[in-house]
């Protein structure tokens, strides 16, 4: 039996400042070592100043994952020497002297399966080490402390996953959940990282570190399971160890470091007093918490009769569900959900495209109305949408500029239909004996009008002309 447990690190990228100072939480725009101050650089005499907003955001995550939240939380020092740690200790949280981290045990549903969360803790991200130089002999180690002190939430799960696919599904759900809470943008480089613990056949657990992306996490789990199974088949015991994911070779490699023997000499961080999380704060946070993805999905289905699949896609995406909320009304909700999930998400499939897009909620509303009132066919609306994204012009302007308006003038349509009946005499005969085949003739009319003919009107006129 395979057991996989995860340790996920997620930066609270939506915060203004770092966990213990006023440097920017968004360190990505800076040149190396320019987003630092005496506090996050660990200068002698500096003291941490707790970012209360980070505590709130982390508590929100704990609540969203159905974790217990203690009435007061404490911070601890994890002591170890490493070049990316300015103080040579990390301020983190610990639950060995009672539950004092932002979140205790919780659960989250992945499909039908309950995944147990062990704990959630708030801590500071270390700096970044960059290795330069080709061979190990002339390798240069550079350290950039811009990231040091970025608020980081660690989510630890029980070993409840049995397949790498379950891991991937969980990470997708978690990533959507964090986005939906408005606490983080997991798509930013390095914003969300994970380590995995893997064991098979009740053997020792192996920790895999250094996994750069979720995609690789699934691959690493796959590799590690195969490796352990093949050892098992040959009766070779699996050693309890830490292995590193080799991104280039796509394999896990034993790290000879003694990380598992490390003694972190944890003790209370005296520079940060215990933080009380009063019931009033918890209530306030609950009220402030955005609607959960699952409740959003249920609402879309029951209130607007949006098909389940569409509701699922729409509700899990914070950006598009927000856009939906801004643009829909009871009457056009289904149409808008449709436009977003079948067309828009495809047209804006990258962050760059999404940012460059000139589409607004008003555009969506107008476009849905145009479709519903027959001003534009669903088919032509795709063209219109494309132009809106590029130009930002109003829906009516684009319909008239591109001549996308429906041909619903009977005289004009009858002219075209007359011509088609003359050209397609064989099909007319066939339609008379088998009315189903009339669709072929409808298609011909559409072709002739470049998709602009009103489909219902066309069908009715055709039937009348042929006499069926």
């Amino acid at each position: 039996m395979t057991k996989i447990g995860l340790e996920i690190h997620c930066q609270l990228t939506n915060l203004q400042s770092k966990l213990f100072c006023s440097c920017k939480a968004n360190y990505r725009e800076f040149k190396p070592n320019e987003n630092i101050c005496p506090v996050c650089a660990g200068m002698p005499g500096s003291l941490p100043r707790l970012n209360q907003e980070a505590v709130k955001k982390a508590t929100m995550i704990a609540m969203a994952l159905n974790c217990t939240t203690p009435d007061k939380i404490a911070f601890f020092r994890k002591n170890y020497f490493y070049p990316d740690l300015p103080k040579n200790f990390q301020i983190t949280q610990l639950n060995i002297y009672g539950d004092t981290s932002v979140g205790g045990s919780g659960t989250i549903l992945v499909g039908d399966k309950k995944i147990r969360i062990t704990r959630i803790q708030l801590e500071e991200d270390p700096g970044r080490i960059i290795y330069e130089g080709s061979s190990s002999k002339n390798q240069i180690t550079l350290v950039d402390y811009n990231r040091a002190g970025t608020p980081l939430v660690e989510i630890v799960t029980e070993p409840d996953f049995e397949t790498p696919k379950e891991v991937r599904d969980f990470l997708n759900i978690l990533s959507d959940l964090l986005k939906n809470l408005g606490v983080a943008d997991p798509s930013l480089e390095g914003a969300m990282r994970a380590d995995a613990n893997v064991s098979t056949h009740g053997g020792h657990k192996v920790e895999i570190k250094n996994i750069g992306s979720f995609h690789d996490l699934e691959k690493a789990a796959h590799f590690e399971i195969t490796r352990q199974e093949s050892l098992h088949d040959r009766n070779i015991p699996v050693v309890q160890e830490t292995r590193h994911w080799d991104d280039r070779r796509k394999i896990t490699v034993s790290s000879r470091s003694k990380e598992e023997d490390m003694d972190y000499r944890y003790f209370l961080e005296g520079d940060i007093p215990w933080v009380k999380i009063n019931p009033e704060i918890k209530t306030e946070l609950k009220l402030k918490m955005p609607e959960s993805i699952s409740s959003k999905k249920d609402r879309y289905i029951t209130k607007y009769q949006i098909p389940e699949q569409v509701a699922d896609v729409l509700s899990s995406d914070k950006f598009y569900s927000d856009l939906f909320e801004k643009s829909h009304s009871q009457s056009n909700a289904k149409e808008i959900a449709n436009i977003i999930t079948t067309e828009l998400m495809g047209l804006e499939d990258t962050r760059e495209k999404r940012e460059a897009s000139k589409l607004t909620a008003t555009h969506l509303r107008d476009l849905a109305d145009a479709i519903q009132t027959g001003k534009v066919s669903r088919n032509s609306s795709k063209n219109a949408l494309h132009q809106i994204l590029k130009t930002g012009k109003s829906v009516s302007q684009i319909i008239s500029e591109l001549d996308l308006g429906n041909v619903s003038d009977e005289t004009e349509l009858l002219k075209i239909i007359g011509k088609i009946i003359a050209d397609e005499s064989e099909a007319v005969v066939q339609a008379k004996s088998n009315p189903q085949t009339i669709n072929y003739l409808v298609g011909k009319v559409m072709q002739a009008t470049k998709g602009k003919a009103d489909p219902t009107l066309t069908l009715n006129l055709l039937k009348k002309q042929i006499g069926i």
């Binding site: 005496p38 200068m43 002698p44 005499g45 300015p86 103080k87 000499r265 003790f267 520079d271």
Partner: protein, 442 residues
């Protein structure tokens, strides 16, 4: 050798102050007052060495909160003063730049670790000094050099910019020649600071107002464990005299036992070593420090090599600090020490239900000669027995100059409950008024 860095820059500032007078600008409360600063408190653009080779060339990039506050009051920082390396010691003999001498008798130690502070105040080189008190480091040298030394309630003065040794128990504290000067300094530097989450709101208390309120009717507990075994007879006599003087002023004195005091020194050294082991871990010479190129080293070997710059006492405590909280040993040492701390706090809180103040000699022995105890760390540790209680429990404590015996000073310590700093200063002032001490012989 107690000023090793005269702050020429700040003396030049005198010129600016001159201008201020001429232009008729409003002058700060410390206008023109020379004040010395222990060399573990950061002054922007000045060296802050902690009397260590490790920080020999460290130039602080910012001002400690206490420094910004004093700058606003036009104080003149006349110099950074000597100390035991990283404030670990009680004789100032562990300074990497040489010991300081006691102005009352230069063969003797001035106490420590804020030795330079006490020397500069007692020898009239400045009006006041800021030291730091982790286990008695302000009160001990104040007692040895016959100055007032104050350790406030934990959190009353911001530690932002004080280079940490044992952050959960230490405080910056003023040393001055009189209790009034001490209260004056406290008025300027106390109060809540957004840069130090452990500071407490004192509602801008005025510690000078009503300082002469007297102690009539106040109940004072004499801590049994601090006047027993190991105390010098001269110190015992002085303590008895102090008690009878307080009784003469209308106080009611009786003995009170704090059983945990006998474990307090062991607990103190266990906790401080643990915290120091962590607080001093940042000195890896990668971001600041001294000249030693990193090229060609593996990280761990570089670290162990650069950290050899620590002196013997710091090294000793780093080794203890690596051991006592480690897995498999924490239960026997660190966690036990934390238990002593919490039991001692309970005991002293009980005592303060009955008493307004507690009294003891500041140091159980007279000042000793330079070199006399330097090779006997355990006997040095025991000198802290009367001072560590205030740190472990977070209570305010003060050392008041009380007597000179054979040319050597003896100080008396008073303690009060948390946030009763004002009452403590009133009592200290009352006791101070009962004695007239000779002038320092230099």
């Amino acid at each position: 050798m107690h000023f090793y860095q005269l702050m020429i820059k700040h003396l030049i500032k005198l010129g600016n102050i001159d201008k201020k007078i001429k232009s008729g600008e409003k002058l700060g409360a410390c206008f023109g007052m020379p004040i010395s600063i222990k060399d573990n408190i950061c002054i922007k653009d000045s060296k802050t060495t902690c009397a260590s080779k490790m920080l020999e060339n460290f130039i602080a990039p910012y001002d400690a909160t206490v420094i910004s506050k004093l700058k606003k009051q036009d104080a003149i920082f006349i110099g950074k003063v000597n100390m035991d390396e990283f404030a670990m010691g009680l004789s100032t003999e562990f300074s990497a730049f040489g010991p300081s001498k006691n102005p009352w008798n230069t063969e003797y130690v001035p106490g420590g670790s804020s030795g330079g502070s006490a020397v500069s105040v007692s020898s009239y080189e400045c009006v006041a000094s800021l030291g730091s008190d982790t286990g008695g480091s302000v009160r001990n040298p104040a007692s040895f050099c016959s100055t007032v030394g104050y350790k406030p309630t934990y959190g009353l003065i911001s530690r932002y910019g004080l280079i940490s040794y044992a952050n959960s128990i230490e405080q910056i504290g003023p040393l001055a020649r009189t209790v009034k000067d001490t209260a004056f300094m406290l008025n300027l530097i106390a109060g809540i600071d957004p840069n130090d989450n452990t500071t407490v709101n004192n509602n801008n208390e005025d510690y000078l107002a009503n300082i002469d309120a007297g102690i009539k009717g106040k109940r004072i507990g004499i801590i049994t464990e601090m006047i027993g075994e190991g105390i010098d007879p001269e110190v015992m006599t002085a303590t008895k005299e102090a008690i009878s003087k307080l009784e003469g002023l209308g106080a009611i004195c009786e003995e009170v036992s704090l059983g945990m005091v006998k474990y307090s020194v062991a607990a103190y050294y266990t906790i401080t070593a643990t915290e120091a082991g962590s607080n001093l871990a940042r000195y890896d010479n990668l971001r600041y420090g001294y000249e030693m190129p990193v090229e060609g080293y593996e990280f761990n070997s570089y670290i162990s090599k650069t950290r050899k710059k620590f002196g013997p006492e710091v090294t000793r405590r780093m080794i203890i600090g690596g051991f006592v909280p480690s897995a498999g040993h924490a239960g026997k040492y660190f966690l036990k020490a934390m238990k002593v701390k919490s039991k001692l706090t309970k005991e002293i809180n009980e005592a303060f239900k009955k008493f307004d103040l507690l009294i003891s000699p500041t140091v159980p022995i007279l000042p000793f000669k330079i070199g006399e105890k330097i090779n006997d760390p355990v006997s040095l540790f025991l000198v802290d027995i009367n001072t560590v209680t205030a740190n472990l429990t977070g209570k305010p404590a003060i050392s008041i100059p009380f007597k000179i015996v054979n040319g050597l000073p003896i100080g008396i310590q008073l303690l009060a409950n948390s946030m009763n700093d004002k009452l403590l200063l009133q009592a200290a002032y009352a006791l101070e008024q009962t004695v007239k001490l000779p002038e320092v012989p230099i």
